[in-house]
């Protein structure tokens, strides 16, 4: 069975002039044109811009040859700004927004020789776990077209899994890179908070948001991280620490590496097929010489509750900027009567935002309001401290912590939309890494009986992406799940 080319393979072929950047770009765009009608992974495909950039690389090849991503097509989640390219965050509110500047991560990719081929669909303002909250309709899972790809970076995950792009950027506030990666059978990396500049990322929860790659291999994730990581004067929260050589760390040797398993946490409420794949993945790590160590994260069971208070509080204040004045949508006054500023704000936000965004703004506004702040927002921030301390204690004894990425495999479109709380509860294994600011990666670890992908999540120490990726890569070498491709890929 043929497989989509990886980032590394494409880069090497372009570098050796086996293929031109323009040929690679044309092939990618042709495949998108063919597959996209059944997938809806993209909000915008940048045909002309991509072909022009690829041609420019070929034209001035000597100056591009040695760049780490020369000629590699890349897709950006549609909450990442690219100058002159419509950026919607999958919201009516920004349906016509054309950013005047690039996200730092996008600019670094292009400077490394990557070619942006389009913007990918997501849950509106990255709020959701299924990509069903997009104002432009749901994305479908390449492994089962009647199912969601997960979310919120569902378009990025579906595009990579279907071979439409070898790499896509996503954003992860509570699992939005890792969970769709797991549900689409690919690799998704959420770096340490601050490792990648958030400049040009449309803000959701500013103390939680982080940009990262979705790829088909751990090597490609490491390669991409090396390009986008690093301090940025435009983001005061970006980490000044030096950027490691992540691909050089992938030695395959994890003998003696201690893998923590919070067995008490992962025993409850996990789909039996997911649990089976997870247990088997631990045995693969053990057979490579890793030591499995039981760890306790006593407050992890409270992470979802703490997360949905912190994230919605931050969202309600971040999304206050969408008021119909500076950019985006403004709802016209009805009946031609006299308008006021206040009613224009409320009307614009009523028409511009979808139900999940309104729900979160409402919850966040409430938990920040006078009289409730201490009981909810402050309490959640204190529990956040306890979750951080749990991880600090665990990392005294282990090098990474292993969990399933999602307790359930991809679910059917429409199946879980009526009960938001149930949707939130499925984020149980992903949100704590955001609350603690830690790097975490999801790597494919098998399939359910219905042939739906399952993901293994590894969480590492702050800024220790090298150990995290080394373990994930070692697992991938033995497990080989990255060789599986959906029937959609032909």
């Amino acid at each position: 069975m043929s497989q989509p080319a990886t980032v590394r393979e494409i880069r090497d072929r372009v570098r050796s002039r086996d293929r031109s950047a323009a040929e690679v770009c044309r092939d990618a765009l042709a495949r998108i044109d063919r597959v996209e009608p059944s997938l809806s992974a993209f909000t915008t495909v940048t045909h002309e811009r991509a072909l022009a950039r690829a041609a420019a690389i070929d034209h001035d090849f000597d100056s591009w040859r040695d760049r780490p991503l020369v000629g590699v097509p890349i897709a950006l989640k549609d909450n990442l700004c690219a100058r002159g390219v419509r950026t919607t965050a999958s919201s009516r509110m920004l349906e016509t927004f054309v950013p005047p500047s690039d996200a730092t991560a996008a600019a670094r990719l292009e400077a490394a020789g990557a070619v942006v081929i389009g913007k990918t669909n997501c849950d509106e303002f990255a709020m959701g776990s299924s990509t069903e909250n997009s104002a432009f309709g749901p994305t479908r899972n390449p492994w089962a077209l009647d199912r969601t790809p997960g979310g919120s970076s569902g378009g990025s995950a579906a595009a990579v899994a279907a071979g439409l792009a070898p790499v896509a950027l996503g954003s992860d506030t509570g699992g939005s890179i890792r969970q769709p990666a797991a549900m689409c059978g690919i690799v998704g990396l959420k770096p340490t908070y601050g490792r990648v500049s958030r400049y040009g990322l449309i803000a959701f929860g500013s103390s939680l948001d982080q940009i990262g790659p979705l790829t088909r291999t751990v090597y490609d994730a490491a390669l991409t991280l090396g390009v986008i990581a690093g301090a940025d004067p435009a983001d005061a929260t970006s980490a000044p620490d030096p950027v490691a050589d992540y691909t050089a760390a992938l030695s395959g040797d994890i003998r003696g590496t201690r893998v923590g398993v919070p067995s008490r946490l992962v025993e409850a409420g996990v789909d039996p097929d997911v649990a089976r794949a997870f247990r088997a993945s631990l045995q693969v790590l053990a057979s490579r010489g890793a030591a499995l160590v039981d760890v306790d994260l006593p407050h992890a069971q409270y992470a979802v509750a703490a997360y949905y208070l912190v994230a919605t509080a931050e969202a309600s204040s971040n999304l206050a900027r969408y008021d119909g004045v500076k950019y985006g949508f403004r709802a016209p006054v009805e009946g031609g009567g006299r308008d006021t500023l206040g009613s224009m704000y409320a009307r614009t936000r009523a028409r511009g935002f979808g139900p999940e965004v309104k729900r979160r703004i409402m919850l966040g506004t409430y938990v920040l309001s006078a009289g409730y702040y201490d009981a909810y927002y402050l309490k959640a921030q204190q529990v956040r401290t306890l979750i951080l301390r749990d991880y600090d204690r665990a990392f005294e004894r282990v090098d990474v912590v292993a969990m399933p990425t999602s307790p359930i495999p991809a679910f059917k479109i429409g199946e879980r939309t009526t009960d938001p709380l149930q949707m939130y509860l499925a984020d149980v294994f992903t949100v704590s890494a955001n609350l603690a600011g830690l790097p975490a990666v999801s790597v494919p670890c098998g399939f359910t009986a219905d042939r739906l992908p399952v993901g293994l999540q590894l969480t590492g120490r702050r800024l220790d992406e090298t150990t995290l990726l080394r373990v994930a890569d070692a697992y991938e070498r033995d497990a080989g799940w990255q060789k599986e491709v959906p029937a959609l890929y032909v």
Binding site: T96, F97, P100, S101, Y193, G194, S207, P233, A236, T237, A239, P240, H299, Y302, A305, L309, S316, A320, G324, V325, K326, G328, V333, R338, T340, L341, G342, M344, A346, R349, A350, F353, P355, K358, R359, I361, M362, L363, T365, Y366, S369, A375, Y376, L378, K379, A380, Q382, V383, R384, T385, L386, L388, D419, P420, L421, Y424, L435, A436, G437, R462
Partner: protein, 99 residues
């Protein structure tokens, strides 16, 4: 705060959030926000006496930078996305604020 929101409470929050809600949304959010708050109430079981809140996970606080002029967007670029911009005057237009 008891689980279950009244329609009046939902309407009051919507006013704070500058959101116009229709009656069906008020009913829906009263139920759903009540469900969510009933779940998060489990946090009250945790003893957090003396535990400092985490507002940021950064190891070091971002240092202040010098207040000096740096490259920025032009006025035209800033106004290009405005739904009712007045580029000649260099202004965003909004409905009347007072009286």
């Amino acid at each position: 705060m008891p689980a279950g929101f009244t329609r009046e409470q939902v309407a009051a929050i919507a006013t704070l959030a500058h959101l116009e809600l229709d009656p069906a949304e008020v009913d829906l959010f009263a139920r759903q926000l009540g469900d969510i708050l009933a779940h998060v109430d489990q946090l009250q079981r945790i003893d957090t006496t003396g535990v400092p809140p985490t507002t940021s996970v950064l190891a070091t606080h971002p240092s202040d930078r010098k207040d000096e002029v740096r490259p920025s967007l032009t006025r035209e670029e800033v106004l290009a996305n405005a739904p009712d911009g007045a580029p000649d005057a260099g202004l965003f237009r909004v409905p009347r604020v007072i009286g």
